[in-house]
């Protein structure tokens, strides 16, 4: 905790422990039972708060939710990645089979 406060009104991400391991549902696999049930929600920060502090956000539906402030300006970094050779070979083979005159 500590550091400069993130200003109220910033778009942020909070983290919540919804259920501790001891509170989890009966009968789930051991690997899941050993860890907490957690959640993350994005929203507008209600009051000035440093990263790592417990704070409140107003979500897109107007709910006010409490949790640990973990990120400012949360975004998405998922991508397309590189073409896997096994897939490329399969596609090339199918083209050559259907259009043999174009085969490299």
């Amino acid at each position: 905790m500590g550091g400069p406060a993130v200003p109220a009104g910033a778009w942020v991400r909070i983290h919540r422990i919804e259920l501790a391991p001891s509170e989890r549902a009966a009968g789930i696999p051991e690997d899941s039972a050993a860890v907490p049930f957690e959640s993350w929600i994005n929203g507008w920060l209600v009051e000035n708060s440093p990263l790592g502090s417990r704070t409140r956000i107003r979500t897109a539906t107007g709910r006010v939710v409490e949790g640990e402030l973990v990120e400012v300006g949360p975004g998405y970094q998922h991508s397309f990645g590189s073409p896997p050779p096994a897939l490329q070979r399969a596609g090339e083979g199918a083209r050559a089979r259907l259009f043999p005159q174009d085969a490299p």
Partner: protein, 471 residues
């Protein structure tokens, strides 16, 4: 949150459900087990044409039907002479949020608005969340989507993260959770707190919304070939797609069409396991949903499930993960269509089926889905490798869920595995009759079980052979 309040919340489940769906499910019960399925479906007050009009007003439906001539030619190149059916693809990616789920969401959100709910909630990591968020945006309703998104390391499948992004883009509040069935508890808490509509995948509205898809498929093929399709292949997970499509085909008088359910084979992976979560390279359309929802449909997020796949499927096929990636690659490279990959489960099955069928037969793949960052075979295969799954060229038999994805390099290698429907019927009956004293069952119950398993009532034996089987 203490375990005791968790239990007390679950105890209020029926009351929360009744309020949040606007349906009193107890009205449909007819016996110890029996309930009136068609009466539940009649909660949808609109007929098929009216549903189609509601959907069209919201930009949903009347999607293109495309004949995949190059895929057909490829299949014929690997088929015995005079074999290789014509393959058609219903391009559901043309719906506003990019999948057939807009059909389900449009009717659910319409109903929520009509009944005066201030918003809608859906518990889903898939396209349905984006569809509900999209329709709620258009209706001016609040929307919360609860997703199973991350393992305990905070790592999420790229496909699910893309769904989070899409839901946020459409203005929804997105709650991303770690792995576990307790998501349902959060869902109940939210329904109770907000008074929102439960836009479950399993209400009559959600299932009736797909009937227009089945009816369009029948009409499209009549227009293009002069008759309804011989075979329609449906990607199968929770059962709504199979149920709604089959009901739509029947309403459009396509009574001779064979309805084939297809799922990706993920047997061996545990759906509630933190470790297995990111070793599944498919988030839906897989056996981990398809088997439990076929044999025990009422274990869902509503008291009585309107999706009853066992009533409607004529065949149930399993395809391997590598085959779905292969089918996706063929669709791109031979038809110039970038779709899926998850929706291409039925395409992989259709390619294998078409090889067995005569040239004059027709096979319809009844959906596609949009492609984007994360929702793309390159992203998914890279993620699989990063999580310790081997990706290689090879035969279908070499696929091991969670360990090896084996991609064929020859259309002749595509095959399907038939799931034994009689075995599924027995499994359904075993689970339905667990903890039930046969003496409590009356004629209505036996008829209900016969309807549920598509067997004559004489075939329903409530005795030792069923009760003593395995799971």
């Amino acid at each position: 949150m203490s375990p005791s309040s968790y239990q007390s919340l679950l105890g209020r489940r029926d009351e929360i459900m009744r309020r949040s769906v606007g349906i009193d499910y107890s009205l449909f019960r007819r016996g110890r087990l029996a309930w009136d399925y068609e009466a539940l479906m009649a909660e949808v007050e609109q007929d098929l044409d009216e549903v189609a009009r509601i959907q069209l007003d919201r930009g949903v439906g009347e999607t293109p039907m495309r004949e995949a001539c190059n895929l057909t030619a490829l299949v014929r190149s690997a088929a015995p002479s005079n074999r290789g059916a014509r393959i058609f693809i219903k391009d559901e990616a043309a719906n506003p949020s990019g999948s057939f789920k807009d059909r389900r969401a449009s009717l659910s959100v319409y109903e929520a608005k009509r009944r005066g709910f201030p918003g809608v909630i859906a518990a889903t990591s898939g396209n349905y969340g984006a569809a509900v968020a999209s329709q709620a945006a258009r209706a001016g309703l609040g929307c919360i989507v609860v997703q199973e998104a991350f393992d305990s390391r905070g790592i999420g499948q790229p496909e699910i993260i893309e769904k989070s992004r899409a839901c946020e883009e459409f203005g929804a509040e997105v709650i991303q959770c770690t792995v576990g069935p307790e998501l349902f508890y959060l869902f109940l808490l939210l329904l109770q707190e907000t008074g929102y509509f439960n836009a479950s995948l399993y209400t009559p509205f959600s299932v009736a919304g797909i009937e227009t898809l089945g009816a369009e498929v029948a009409e499209d093929l009549r227009r293009l070939t002069g008759r309804p399709p011989d075979v329609v292949v449906v990607t199968h997970a929770g059962g709504g797609n199979v149920t709604g499509t089959a009901r739509g085909l029947l309403k459009a008088r396509a009574t001779a069409t064979t309805v084939v359910a297809a799922s990706v084979d993920l047997r061996g992976l545990h759906m509630a396991s933190d470790r297995d979560f990111n070793r599944k390279s498919f988030t839906t359309g897989h056996s981990g949903f398809a088997f439990p929802f076929t044999t025990r449909p009422d274990r869902s997020d509503v008291p009585l499930n309107a999706a009853r796949p066992l009533r409607y499927m004529d065949r149930f096929l399993l395809v391997a993960q590598g085959e779905v990636f292969y089918a996706t690659e063929l669709l791109s490279k031979l038809e110039g269509m970038q779709r899926g990959p998850a929706g291409n489960t039925s395409l992989a099955a259709a390619l294998a089926l078409a090889r067995e069928l005569p040239e004059e037969a027709t096979v319809v793949v009844q959906e596609t889905e949009y492609t984007g960052a994360g929702k793309h075979p390159w992203a998914q295969l890279a993620f699989a490798e990063a999580n310790g799954v081997e990706v290689k060229t090879g035969a279908r038999e070499e696929n091991v869920p969670g360990r090896v994805i084996s991609i064929p390099d020859d259309p002749g290698q595509l095959a399907v595995e038939d799931v034994d429907l009689d075995g599924l019927r027995q499994s359904y009956l075993r689970q339905a009759l667990r903890d039930v004293d046969p003496a409590e069952l009356d004629k209505a119950d036996l008829q209900f079980l016969a309807d549920e398993t598509r067997q004559p009532v004489e075939a329903i034996r409530v005795g030792a052979p069923i009760m003593t089987g395995g799971s």
